[in-house]
């Protein structure tokens, strides 16, 4: 019988392999066509099966809860959400060149989850985490973070891309297309993060008696939200589009990363802080 942890540790290396196929595809001018995309789709499906299996295993252990309660589990879900959203984007835009920058992200997240010393076992839920709002909160937050990760990749590509000089037509999408991708990902991320903050507030109101208590993790998610709100408004202002907007979006993603990992250095209520 295959266990979820076997699937998840194998998947880590598969993501690296998928990344290589995307890389090779760029180097040979997309002659591999849709092979990398199909590989990524299969990987994501198996990854999803791994998550479902972990859910099922928690019931066999008698704990019975959705696999979103520890840092390890959140990383597993985060990497899945990144590749799922990226696949949707690829399907909409029919362009595979962003894959070279995006596929390393689930690989890195999974590798960190697998090789660091964090607790990987299925843990029973402490009383504060026993809430359906928690499931809604974690899913919406991480879907938001995943969209921001892809926005980050598109901004990096935007900054790396040189202006076209009538040479052979480049495979990398034009700057306008990259801006469009960034905008769409910021919109999805912003709406999801807003939902994440709201469901988190509802949960806190039920569990701790106050919907907002300026706990560092809360505050950092608000900081992230404020930065991306300013990204949305900067886009409406002349003189702020292009390079500046890309940099502001990248700052936004740095806030995401700090909200996720950095806050654990500060004391607070969130459970990941103690794991």
């Amino acid at each position: 019988m295959i266990t979820s942890s076997q699937i998840l540790s194998v998947i880590t290396f598969v993501y690296f392999f998928v990344f290589l196929t995307y890389l090779v595809n760029q180097l040979v001018k997309e002659r591999l066509s849709y092979i990398p995309s199909i590989l990524l789709l299969l990987t994501t499906l198996i990854h999803g099966i791994g998550i479902s299996l972990r859910w099922k295993e928690s019931y066999e252990l008698g704990y019975g809860h959705a696999p979103f309660s520890t840092l390890y589990e959140s990383l597993i879900f985060y990497s899945w959400a990144i590749s799922a959203i990226y696949l949707l984007l690829e399907w909409r835009t029919k362009s595979t060149s962003l894959g070279v920058l995006v596929t390393p992200l689930p690989f890195l997240a999974l590798a960190y989850a697998s090789f660091s010393k964090m607790n990987k076992g299925i843990q029973p839920l402490i009383p504060a985490l026993k809430s359906n709002w928690l499931i809604a909160h974690v899913i919406t937050c991480f879907v938001g973070y995943a969209a921001f990760a892809i926005s980050f990749a598109s901004c990096i590509l935007y900054l790396l891309r040189k202006e076209e000089k009538n040479r052979i037509k480049s495979l990398i999408p034009s700057k306008e297309v990259l801006e469009e991708i960034n905008y769409n990902m910021v919109v999805i991320g912003f709406v999801s993060l807003s939902l994440g903050i709201i469901t988190g507030a509802i949960w806190a109101n039920v569990a701790w008696g106050s919907y907002w208590s300026w706990d560092p993790k809360e505050t950092w998610s608000l900081i992230t939200w404020l930065v991306y709100a300013s990204v949305l408004h900067a886009r409406l202002t002349r003189g702020w589009r292009g390079r500046k907007l890309a940099i502001l979006s990248i700052i936004g993603f740095c806030c995401v990363i700090f909200t996720y990992f950095g806050v654990n250095l500060l004391p607070g209520l969130h459970s990941y802080a103690t794991m």
Binding site: P124, P127, A128, S131, F190, V191, A207, G209, T219
Partner: protein, 461 residues
């Protein structure tokens, strides 16, 4: 508008100001996570240099989120939103109500396609035209001008107002927060198992809230998983009015109890040292036992008066539970003596201290005291809070999400089809949207598929 008002208006209308305010607030919030705030500050600053602490305190850096500067930033944002919305609303209303009329030839100056239509019965054609428009969705209108037939279908005019709903929602949430900070409160109460309370100490530390009813804690239970992780905390509470039992409630983490808008949350638990059972000897003779709680007094059969004057959870922070007894009796003047649960720990303190009269058992000779049993009682810690603004905040959150959907995932889309007869029947299709052109194309392509299959014969250049 006067000169000054115009300047005010121009300043607060600007989206650049919005960007600056949002970024400044983000930086402000960031600083708040680096400097300890409120309770955290109270705990940490004792290790700080007092001069630096004084400066930080004066500047309000230990309570940034309630500081005047932060409130001014929020106020600025609110004015910014109001002014900006009022400034733009007329234009949006115009856009949302503007109509090109039943036969707009301007939109066909740049059609998406021009097709040669099949010859067919006018009635059949009308049916198919309607079907095509319905495929697009929205409100369908047809105008028959004899030599030209116009079909129009549109939806999503409300999308012009999505942004206003989002911005209004920010105001509603801020107002909800304000209501909570003015009329709300937060407090805390510990109830010993079996005890009854009718007041709650508020968090500002100054005031006490009279509940108007009383709460008895019948039982507190903490359950654990086999590996020691907490599983469930549960308090069984009985609500009483003038001693009469009204109802019983179980309060668990994530399952608070609400009475008249005041909510009680399971927040903590613990035990307190309550008293002890002592055994008294005179020489080697047992003269009696006494079960005492604080400030309780008892007289033993031989006339020895004993009183529990004080008790400590952890004497000097390392010697464990201790009880101060006052003894007075035949052959003994009034004496006080500390009795320890774990006397062996007394080895940890220096000899001179042990010589202090209240620690020295020889001072009460010929009497001796033994600690037979420590009595502890469990209490449940409840957080008590009232926030009349919380529902306003939820309404604001709901509006925000609704506004996002109107703004981002909905748009005003229009489709026009014109049939004209010159020598042959000719079909022109045009479409417009206020955002998301890719989405429009996707939808129009579905309609075009149908038209090419059912109505048109071939493309016309």
């Amino acid at each position: 508008m006067g000169y000054k008002e115009r300047d005010f208006w121009r300043f607060f209308r600007s989206v650049k100001l919005t960007i600056i305010l949002l970024v400044v607030m983000a930086i402000f919030a960031l600083i708040g996570t680096l400097i300890p705030q409120r309770e955290e500050a109270a705990r940490v600053v004792q290790f700080w240099n007092p001069k630096i602490m004084e400066i930080f305190f004066r500047l309000g850096l230990f309570d940034l989120y309630h500081s005047l500067v932060f409130r001014l930033l929020l106020l600025g944002l609110a004015i910014n939103i109001v002014v900006c919305s009022l400034d733009r609303l007329p234009k949006s209303i115009k856009l949302a109500t503007h109509s090109l009329g039943p036969a707009p030839d301007t939109v066909f100056e740049r059609p998406i396609v021009a097709l040669r239509a099949k010859e067919m019965e006018p009635k059949v054609f009308m049916e198919k035209l309607k079907k095509a428009l319905r495929l697009f969705g929205g409100k369908v209108q047809i105008a028959d001008l004899g030599n030209r037939i116009y079909g129009h279908s549109e939806y999503g005019r409300s999308s012009y107002f999505g942004v206003y709903v989002v911005h209004l929602s920010v105001l509603v949430i801020l107002i909800g927060g304000l209501i909570g900070s003015i009329w709300g409160f937060e407090g805390y109460v510990n109830i010993l198992e079996g005890d009854v309370i009718d007041t709650v100490e508020l968090r500002d530390g100054k005031s006490v809230l009279k509940l108007g009813y009383s709460i008895r804690c019948d039982e507190f239970r903490a359950d654990f998983y086999p590996n020691g992780t907490p599983k469930e905390f549960r308090s069984r509470l009985t609500i009483l009015n003038d001693g009469e039992e009204l109802f019983v409630r179980d309060v668990l983490v994530n399952h608070p109890m609400e009475i008249d808008g005041i909510r009680f949350y399971q927040a903590s638990y613990g035990t307190i040292l309550y008293g002890a059972i002592f055994r008294f000897l005179k020489g080697d003779q047992i003269i009696g036992e006494a079960e005492l709680k604080k400030e309780m007094q008892q007289t033993l059969p031989n006339g020895l008066k004993v009183e529990l004057k004080d008790l400590r959870e952890d004497f000097m922070g390392r010697l464990g539970p201790a009880f101060l007894l006052r003894l007075e009796g035949e052959g003994l003047d009034e004496k006080e003596i500390w009795v320890f649960k774990r006397p062996e720990l007394l080895k940890m303190i220096p000899q001179e201290m042990k010589a202090s009269p209240r620690l020295d058992p020889s001072t009460i000779l010929p009497y001796k005291v033994e600690l037979k049993e420590v009595i502890e009682r469990q209490y449940t810690g409840l957080q008590v809070s009232k926030d009349p603004g919380v529902n306003v905040v939820w309404i604001g959150c709901f509006m925000m999400i609704l506004g996002f959907f109107l703004t981002f995932f909905y748009s005003h889309r229009q489709l026009w089809i014109r049939l004209e007869w010159d020598k042959t029947p000719r079909l022109l299709v045009a479409a417009r949207t206020n955002r998301d052109h890719a989405g429009l194309e996707h939808r129009v392509s579905k309609v075009l598929d149908y038209i090419r299959r059912e109505i048109a014969e071939r493309e016309e250049i």
